[in-house]
């Protein structure tokens, strides 16, 4: 999978590394901003209220 991505990317190795780093940063950002807040609603790790 990752091998395939590496081979499909154009350009010299340093360029591919740069592209992959940017891609990784974008994924982490998307996770922190949208994915994790959404997931956390279904993971009751820190409920602190009492209710019936």
């Amino acid at each position: 999978m990752y091998g395939l991505i590496w081979r499909t990317l154009p350009g010299p190795a340093w360029f591919r590394v740069l592209v992959l780093l940017l891609l990784a940063a974008a994924i982490v950002l998307a996770c922190f901003e949208w994915v994790f807040p959404w997931v956390s609603e279904y993971v009751p790790l820190n409920e602190n209220t009492v209710e019936v």
Binding site: M1, Y2, V28, C31, F32, F36, V39, S40, E41, P44, L45, N46, E47, N48, T49, V50, E51, V52
Partner: protein
């Protein structure tokens, strides 16, 4: 001429040995598992660290945007002798009580010397996780008493993550002051007891703590405060509950409660 066999370098280095379809699939599964592991790790980092950073910033902004007057009378400039904050005198009569605000309104601040002299957290109306507890700080159970009112001023707060306003709730000892400030009034509660309960034990936030739903409430004579937080830490299995009772109140315009002055808690923004 002796013949020298030249290794077919080109071939060896260029074409990788063909992998079978099974090993190909196993390889992809392995990579997916590694990716899942990394994502889970990132989730933990986000939950334990980033939500705190974010909520901490947000709480500071909320407190600054309240623009409440600094407590106490104006201290004349240059008067070093009296430059400390004035101490508010205790009042034991019927305290002023504000009306219950609309959901997500920040209407009070909580100071707890036991949590450190820099500790202050906003208190907002409602206990919805996404809109209040994860963002605004401590939440006030709608329908329970307001600060100073007869009954039970019941609050919920995160013990871990999202700014964790109730992080050290289990360190509270009997007699510790819990100081609530609205725009105009200080309410000084004192811790009386604590307990660990199941999430469905709503009697802890009853107007008289311990009176279960359906049972008749006795005539209200006390002004309680209740804090609810998760227990054990990083779990949602149970709830850690702290109860307190109002000791006294004081107008903000007079100064700062002695409990905060003695503990070196700084109030006001300069």
């Amino acid at each position: 001429m002796s013949s020298v066999t030249v290794p077919p370098r080109h071939g060896v280095y260029r074409s990788r040995p063909r992998r079978g379809i099974v090993s190909g699939i196993v390889g992809v599964i392995g990579e997916l598992l590694i990716t899942a592991g990394v994502l889970l790790g990132l989730f933990v980092v986000w939950q334990l660290w980033w939500t705190d950073v974010q909520a901490g910033r947000e709480h500071a902004q909320i407190l600054a945007s309240l623009e409440w007057p600094d407590p106490g009378p104006e201290v004349p400039p240059g008067d070093d002798e009296n430059s400390g904050p004035a101490v508010a005198t205790r009042r034991e009569g019927k305290p002023p009580v504000m009306e219950e605000p609309t959901d997500t309104t920040v209407f009070a601040e909580l100071y707890v010397p036991r949590f450190g002299k820099n500790y202050v957290s906003p208190i907002a109306q409602g206990v919805d996780k996404a809109t209040v507890l994860d963002r605004l700080g401590i939440g006030h159970y709608p329908g329970t008493a307001m600060p100073g009112e007869l009954g039970n001023f019941a609050t919920a707060g995160h013990r871990t993550t999202y700014g964790k306003p109730y992080h050290e709730v289990a360190d509270l000892k009997e007699g510790d002051p819990l100081v609530v400030r609205t725009e105009d009034t200080w309410y000084v509660y004192r811790v009386t007891d604590w307990e660990i309960v199941w999430p469905w034990q709503v009697e802890v936030i009853s107007a008289v703590p311990g009176v279960k739903p359906g049972e008749t409430l006795p005539k209200l004579t006390e002004r309680y405060m209740t804090m609810t937080a998760c227990h054990p830490m990083y779990s949602a299995a149970q709830r850690y509950i702290v109860h307190g009772v109002l000791d006294y109140w004081a107008p903000v315009s007079e100064g700062v409660p002695a409990e905060l002055v003695d503990a070196g808690v700084k109030v006001g923004r300069d």
